[in-house]
Amino acid sequence: MGSKAPALPQVARRPARIVELWRFRQLIGMLVVRELKVRYKRSVLGLLWTMLNPLLLMVVYAVVFTTIMPAAQPNFAVFLLAGLLPWLYFATSLMQGLMSVLVNQELVRKIRLPQAVFPLSVVGSNLVNFTLSFLPLFIMMAALRQPFTPALLFLPAAAVILTLFCAGVTLLFATATVFFRDVRHLTEVLLQMLLYLSPVLYDFRQLGEHRTWWFHLFRLELRINPLSYLIPLVRDPVYYGRLPSLPTLAVALLWAAGALLLGFAVFTRLEPRHIHHL
């Protein structure tokens, strides 16, 4: 084998990232199962925590907003839960997902595989949690006599759109965290602020009118904030018993598709350099 190698067809031989990822789709499923299994292994209540978690949060907020500073609408518990569930799905996916490449660095160092499987499996396991947490929501709705309308059939579509968005943002932040560990702490703070800057605990319609500059700024922020369009995908069918408006749906879809394309493109572009920064 002394002869010079023919021109190296490296690029041609490497399958496109998306094809490679598709080949590893079963791995994503297994990582999701592993995450759920390991997370609840030693806990008595196990998967029940998935449902208790948003419920307990809901109780706290409901007490604050109905007794301490009453600003509430009828059936406020349902209103809150319908906003908290998508918010928690997003926030938890992001916080867990941005660490996922670092957490799995032993594998990244040893086996060649599309690293996107790690953030994506975090989003996947949170999707399972998100889906399961509709059970307590429905129980709450029944208990409070909130009507069940056919608009609820939209929820699977809402879950899909939310998932695309979560996946995109998580991919983007996961790669950023590899290069700058500060991203994790920064995101933690940003998420706390974002909770109040997004219509989770309140609704766009409740804002009314104020003639101050900061209020105009706030409204502008709400108009840009993708969560203003994503949260109604769940809240409109659950609380208002109607489908989200067409413009809301269109903007939500645009944000989801944009986030996913950007997140995937940036992640796969920087992926080969991750190993030098682990």
Partner: protein
């Protein structure tokens, strides 16, 4: 070019080494990020050209830090070379470290499927292999115990049992034969010989001459990231000994 072929052409893998320690953002700003500019490149591997034909067996020899692991990682596609080009054709069984990817909380059974998926196998494909893997590993009923309760020997046995059943075109083994008892080591060696006769390319990192001679007719010696020798294993070993005896210069930095 066939599956099992490995071509490295003038491969270099460089890391940036920051000489000035900067631990806080404040210092970084105060120095106007000078530490980034004064970074030096450390070449873990440079100007390495190797051609390994399908079915060939080659041993990699070198002192600690000579670049063996970096070379293996480049071949396995985990690292992309910063210079030159590396092409590896076919499925690689990365026995760089046995049991890489085991989740200690999961049972041996779950880990077999997880490990299979990490190597790109579907659940169905792994089901077909499962019994063979358990048999090879000699774990018996322990397969349903969490892996964290395994002894290191059991751990390595399961790791090898999976790696030997993934129909590789290229087998990369990094000193794993040091684990497990002698009888199991013999079994692993026999399995590797099977692979050899089946035409699987074999890349082996070794510190033991007898094992290298037994498994590989050819050896490459790495010395401070350079290819110092490439040829028959016994001659390679002499060269390796020679280099070992010589003065050991520190790592080579180049701006």
């Amino acid at each position: 070019m066939r599956d099992g072929q490995i071509i490295l052409e003038d491969v270099g893998v460089g890391y940036r080494i920051y000489r000035e320690k900067v631990s806080t953002l404040k210092e970084a700003v105060a120095n106007r990020f000078r530490h980034l500019r004064t970074a030096e490149k450390f070449w873990a591997l440079r100007h390495v050209s190797l051609q390994i034909a399908p079915g060939e067996a080659i041993a990699l020899v070198g002192h600690n830090g000579s670049g063996k692991s970096t070379l293996l990682k480049t071949v396995a596609g985990v690292l992309e070379p910063s210079e030159g080009a590396a092409v590896t054709l076919g499925r690689i069984s990365p026995m760089i470290e046995l049991g890489a990817g085991f989740d200690p909380e999961l049972s041996g059974r779950d880990n077999v499927y997880l490990n299979g998926a990490l190597l790109g196998f579907s659940r169905k494909q792994m089901s077909a292999k499962f019994q063979r893997i358990v048999d090879f590993s000699e774990l018996g009923d322990f397969i349903d115990l969490p892996v964290k309760n395994y002894s290191s020997g059991m751990y390595a046995r399961l790791g090898f049992a999976i790696a030997q059943d993934v129909e590789p075109d290229i087998l990369i083994v990094d000193e794993v034969l040091a684990v497990g008892d002698e009888r199991f080591q013999e079994k692993c060696k026999r399995r590797i010989q099977d692979f050899r006769s089946a035409g699987v390319t074999f890349v082996f990192v070794s510190h033991s001459l007898p094992t290298a001679l037994e498994l590989c007719p050819r050896a490459a010696v790495l010395h401070h990231g350079r290819l110092a020798f490439d040829g028959p294993t016994d001659a390679a070993w002499e060269r390796y000994r020679e280099l070992e005896r010589g003065p050991a210069p520190g790592p080579v930095f180049q701006a």
